[in-house]
């Protein structure tokens, strides 16, 4: 079981949309994962044992976990590339 954190500024709007799209993506690709939302400010306390962080906000610190920028889930631009990156990271 993989663990994915989807972060944004307040865990209200953009991470909600991105997290749902990521759950769908992983389901379609038969990747079992626990996808959770959080605020960027919560990353340090929640990144233990996490395989991937997808964030729509800027992540300045290194948590020892790969970080993928999730803007494409909101803008739709470059979405295929972002999806591919996520799948490759979780393989």
């Amino acid at each position: 079981m993989k663990k994915v954190l989807v972060a944004c500024g307040g865990a209200v709007a953009t991470s909600t949309v991105a997290a749902n799209k990521i759950r769908e993506l992983l389901k379609v690709n038969n990747i079992k994962a626990d996808v959770q939302q959080c605020r960027v400010s919560e990353l340090s306390s929640k990144s233990d044992g996490v395989d991937l962080i997808v964030s729509t906000a800027k992540v300045d610190r290194d948590y020892g976990v790969p970080v993928i920028h999730g803007l494409a889930f909101i803008s739709g631009i470059g979405l295929d590339k972002t999806k591919q990156q996520i799948l490759e990271t979780l393989k």
Partner: protein, 160 residues
């Protein structure tokens, strides 16, 4: 039936603004005056945008989706402002700026309850024809009707 997330007074069309702060004051004042948001809502929007920018590169013009923490909002609303000239916003998750001409205010008190509406708004941002249509509208009634139509396509699933 008019979607509860919409209010004609939260629709501003073909406005001229010089900064995101000016835009937040316009939309935020209505949110506060109508009792939809707390008195510090405008500061909330300004601070949030400074820390977590919401500019989105979209076609044919860039869009911004300003919002605050849910705790600032008393009654969920979605607002709209179209701009005659681009106003600079920082792109979400970056340091680069982009000239925005469509602002969609996400005044949401609870994202889970309004997930469908949120998803609808985000998918509309990704439709160049919708953005183009928004820019061409000159009356609040027409804009309200268009937004209502789009949001109500999903309302059945949201009524509890």
């Amino acid at each position: 039936m008019m979607n509860k997330l919409l209010d004609k007074d939260l629709i501003f069309l073909n406005m001229e603004a010089t900064s995101s702060t000016e835009i937040f004051k316009n939309l935020g004042t209505v949110m506060i005056q109508k009792g939809y948001a707390n008195d510090n809502y405008i500061e909330g929007l300004i601070n949030r945008e400074a820390n977590f920018p919401t500019g989105i590169p979209a076609e044919p013009v860039a869009v911004a989706i300003p919002h605050t923490d849910a705790s600032f909002v008393k009654e969920s609303k979605i607002g709209l402002m179209t701009l005659l000239n681009p106003v600079n916003f920082t792109i979400m998750g970056s340091d680069s700026e982009i000239g925005v001409q469509v602002v969609i205010l996400l005044g949401l008190a609870d994202s889970q309850h309004h997930l469908k509406a949120l998803q609808t708004v985000i998918s509309l941002i990704q439709e160049p024809s919708f953005i183009k249509q928004l820019l061409s509208i000159s009356t609040q009634e027409v804009a309200l009707e268009l937004l209502n139509q789009e949001l109500n396509l999903t309302i059945e699933e949201e009524v509890k």
